[in-house]
């Protein structure tokens, strides 16, 4: 100090003052007393935050943070605190029903918790929805697309009632469910000039659900449906089934399936029996939107069948209005591209902020936390004309969004190692 003299002390003082500025600046974010006279409410989130899921898990966490910080960390006099939980088991790194149940119980046991945002895996949601339902707590998912969680269409027997022990809807998803793809796919097929479709499905929950909806919609809009045939996907030889398709004179093959149930085998063998464009084209849901599929089916056949797939929602770059703004904001704030479900997490967070605002009078009147949760649940359920990332939408009676905006992709030649790729072709509604 001696060597620095007075000038040094002066500089030191300046530095000290500068260093305190950020600390002072963060104080309003951290909820001072006058901003939340009505106290604190907690929002729990739950999805895997380990291993391969770290990027997506962080993306969804960022999405929720974005929504809460837009509201300034407090809504209608209530300060909000986010508690992020991980529902993966440390042994396997994958979601685990026991961990998810523990997380949900932790949330409903917290006297300040008002909302549960999660899960990522539909299987995990099956575990937590009944727990939050019993506690009147609303649950919003940023990522579950299995239809049976909310509706009968494409569901297993007993669904979705088994997830609602108290009888009311407490689970909401601001993202279209899988079965919508079947409906949108059928309409797209009609616009592409298809007259007669042969539907195949892998007899699994996802594939058959989508195929059934495709069939129903196709019949409604006047497409001839030859059959909706369940195939034995463990059989690597699908030529007899495809010969049947050929004999029927159908001009579209729609496959409700995923890559794990051998969709690539069917596509590849289409060429072997002469099922190629312009005679026949191929369409499927987003379970086929994988590069691995093109590898197995070969680019040659994928292009020869003019393979098309539908995808729930819009690609981020194609979003307009709120969606485009959110996309830019996310990139600016977190310095990277949003992961697949990050913006849907932001959407879920915003739905909650909006609902808390609308529920404020009821929240103030509520005598205990259960009444508060019930007030918020009702407010979320009545979300109408919400200005979301895919346009304006409302929740229906099941807790699903009522929009069916999807995008259509087509396989085109590309300068990739395998020689082709899925390219965005059209916005579908």
């Amino acid at each position: 100090m001696r060597r620095w003299g007075w000038v040094g002390i002066l500089w030191g003082a300046v530095l000290a003052v500068v260093a305190t500025i950020p600390v002072v600046a963060t104080i309003p974010m951290d909820a001072t007393a006058q901003q939340c006279p009505k106290g604190k409410l907690r929002i729990y989130t739950s999805w895997p935050m380990q291993g391969a899921m770290i990027p997506e898990g962080t993306g969804m966490k960022n999405g929720v943070d974005l929504a809460v910080s837009e509201a300034g960390g407090a809504v209608a006099g209530y300060c909000l605190e986010i508690i992020n939980l991980d529902d993966a088991s440390p042994q396997t790194g994958k979601w685990d029903g026991a961990v998810e149940a523990e997380n949900a119980n932790k949330a409903v046991g917290d006297p300040l918790a008002i909302l549960y945002i999660g899960t990522y895996n539909s299987g995990a949601a099956k575990v937590s929805i009944p727990i939050t339902n019993r506690a009147h707590m609303a649950q919003i998912t940023p990522a579950n697309t299995y239809p049976g969680l909310t509706k009968k269409q494409g569901a297993a027997p007993g669904e979705p009632e088994i997830y609602r022990p108290l009888g009311f809807v407490n689970y909401f998803r601001p993202i279209p469910a899988d079965d919508i793809q079947g409906a949108v796919g059928a309409k797209w097929a009609k616009r592409l000039g298809v007259k007669k479709v042969f539907i195949l499905n892998d007899q699994e929950l996802y594939g058959k659900g989508i195929a059934d909806v495709f069939e129903a919609t196709a019949k409604k809009i006047g497409l001839a449906v030859v059959a909706n045939e369940g195939i034995d996907w463990k059989q690597p030889d699908q030529k007899p089934v495809l010969t049947k398709v050929r004999a029927s004179g159908a001009d579209l093959v729609y496959l409700g399936g995923v890559i794990e149930t051998g969709a690539q085998v069917i596509i590849r063998q289409m060429k072997e029996v002469g099922l190629v464009a312009p005679r026949v084209r191929f369409m499927g849901p987003d379970g086929l939107l994988e590069e691995e599929l093109l590898k197995g089916a070969t680019c040659e056949v994928a292009m020869a069948t003019e393979m098309r797939v539908t995808f729930a929602g819009l690609p981020f770059e194609k979003m307009k209005g709120v969606g485009a703004k959110t996309y830019e904001e996310y990139k600016k704030r977190f310095g990277k591209e949003p992961t697949s479900y990050a913006l849907y997490a932001a959407e879920g967070g915003r739905v909650a902020m909006d609902a808390i605002k609308r529920a404020a009078p009821a929240l103030d009147r509520a005598k205990d936390i259960t009444e508060k949760r019930e007030a918020l649940r009702k407010a979320i359920a009545t979300t109408k004309n919400f200005d979301g990332i895919n346009g304006k939408w409302s929740f229906d009676a099941n807790g699903d969004v009522d929009y069916d905006t999807m995008s259509g992709f087509k396989v085109v030649k590309a300068d990739t190692p395998i020689g082709c790729k899925f390219q965005f072709e059209a916005i579908l509604e």
Partner: protein, 331 residues
Amino acid sequence: MRWEGMGEERRRSPPFRTNLDWHEVLIQQTINGVTRGAVFALIALGYTMVYGIIGLINFAHGDVFMLGLFISLSYFTLLGMAGPLHGWQLVTVLPLVFLLTMLTTGVINVTIDRVAYRPLRHAFRLAPLITAIGVSFMLENLALIWKGPAPLAYPDVFPSVDILREWVGVDSLLFITTKDLLVLGTTIPLMIALQYFVTRTTWGKAMRATAHDKETALAMGIDVEKTIILTFFIGGALAGAAGLIQGLYYNIGMWWMGYQAGLRAFTAAVLGGIGSMPGAALGGLVIGFLSAWSDQYISARWTNALVFSILILVLIFRPQGLLGERVPDKA
């Protein structure tokens, strides 16, 4: 994108007839059935041979078939063949890979016998059966560790040419490709060679004698253990060939596919009469036809049910199978 417009739709009349006539459908499905059945038959032969000799239903056999597919793929990769073979490669590389694959799976099958079945040769009959199931699981998991859980894309090594249109010049709606010819052109010679070996050679005679009566064969100076080794080797080699053919034909392999294929082939062996080699070949073809016709005329989801119902009917009314001889002490 523009879609609407009735005029545009009316103009889109197909440039060719798309629907197949009923007889074209029948012919096409019969071709499908033959190729499918030929592969079943090749696997079924291995089941039936081993059963004939030591009375064991070798449940690991289907997995040897699966390994045949994986191993042949490795040989192709080793030889640097990732795309369609041309001209001279078809007559050099392809037979070489066939030979190497069959040798490898033959040795694997013999090893399985030496390690897992031989110590139990005189044990209670269920012991080797359960061991076989255990070996099956081990092979499956070996393949799982080796290649991972995702379906394996088998490269288009064998070129697929639409024979009628591109070679003959007939614009038929039927599809017969070079791949169909490949299946028939390999399975039929293999079956004929096997039949010749078993009926006309000394070793074949030894095999038949051992199958008929092990003790007496031993008393006649036949080396029974060597005959058993030979049987496992031939069975494994045929399974390996079937795996290779399957890879070339369907271009896909899964670590669990041995179980499914094995079940079908076992059914074929029983249908034809277990222990009978012409029976296994016939059983394979019958199941191939039935399943292809069922896919067409009934529904793919009922095919397995139909195949097994017919198996049950055959076993009720003809327990020895289609070509089997009644051997009371074996059943």
